[in-house]
Symmetry: C2
Subunit: 180 residues, 2 copies
């Protein structure tokens, strides 16, 4: 059971991820980003942002010009971009494949965006692309329609009887294969 703590030893923390993507967003949207803009956008105090950004500046991810305007280093851009792409991919996957409502899909994506491995992100991308190519195919579009209808209709309380039984079977299969 080693490795369960990979969790908090990611390249960037959840907090840092949001600081970086926020700066990127503000730059794209308004052309500039200051400490208090970031704070407002994230809903935390200027003090907290100031401290956090000091760290990110020392790590060389964030830069600051003479007018206290924030920017991202090459590395910072790379990271922010990566996280942003992961968020979009995950959100789309949740929304279009699993039929999760927009707001919830966004919320879930936001929580896990920075934890998804590069490899997995790439796989999601490939999967969605392939899918969009053949979404007209009968069986598959029917699958999604059914799923979405069911999800929309049901009063979902997790874990449902079904999900429990199903995951039991999945687990059995996983461990069986392991033994071979």
């Amino acid at each position: 059971m080693t490795g369960w703590r990979e969790f908090d030893q990611n390249p960037v923390s959840h907090s840092a991820a949001h600081h970086l993507t926020t700066i990127q967003f503000l730059l794209d949207e308004f052309g500039y980003a200051r400490v208090s803009d970031v704070a407002r956008h994230l809903g935390i105090t200027r003090g907290s942002v100031s401290v956090t950004l000091k760290g990110l500046r020392q790590r060389g991810l964030v830069v600051e010009d003479e007018h206290k305007h924030l920017g991202l280093s090459e590395e910072g851009i790379r990271i922010a971009r990566g996280i942003h792409i992961k968020r979009i991919l995950v959100q789309t996957m949740l929304r279009d494949v699993l039929g999760i409502p927009d707001d919830l899909a966004e919320q879930d994506a936001c929580k896990i965006e920075h934890l998804v491995s590069d490899y997995t992100a790439e796989a999601i991308s490939k999967f969605l692309q392939k899918l969009s190519g053949i979404e007209s195919a009968e069986s598959i579009s029917k699958l999604f329609d059914d799923l979405k209808k069911e999800m929309a209709a049901a009063e979902i309380s997790f874990p449902s009887e079904e999900a429990q039984k199903f995951s039991d079977r999945l687990e059995q299969r996983l461990t069986e294969e392991e033994d071979q």
Copy 2:
């Protein structure tokens, strides 16, 4: 941009999730669970576990008999079970749908298991069930085979050119729909 901190205000933290599921695992596997067993299994010190479990006992999730043997309350079982099911579902989704290698799928699942919403977990369950029902259908099984081959073959470096362009399009679509 409110709500980005839902992250750390989950019913149980990543750490707590693992303490609970570990106790459940040890009970299933060996019939008992003590502080040092949990510590060994998680790879952290007895001291840390002792402190953490004190909290979980106060929250009524963990119980202890006269011989220092640990157990889970009804609520504790419920939570541990829920997280465990989510892990299985996510792991299976990653492995069987996206073609992620076993160990990486497990690792990713471990990081996000406790962050996935109940609703999303239920959707994954339904999705996988539907899928297993028709996996023999031509178009869809071909899709997965192709995907897995590609993933196995490629030297993946995220974000690939393709993923970038693709996510740009996805994002555009997302924001367009928002405007309507």
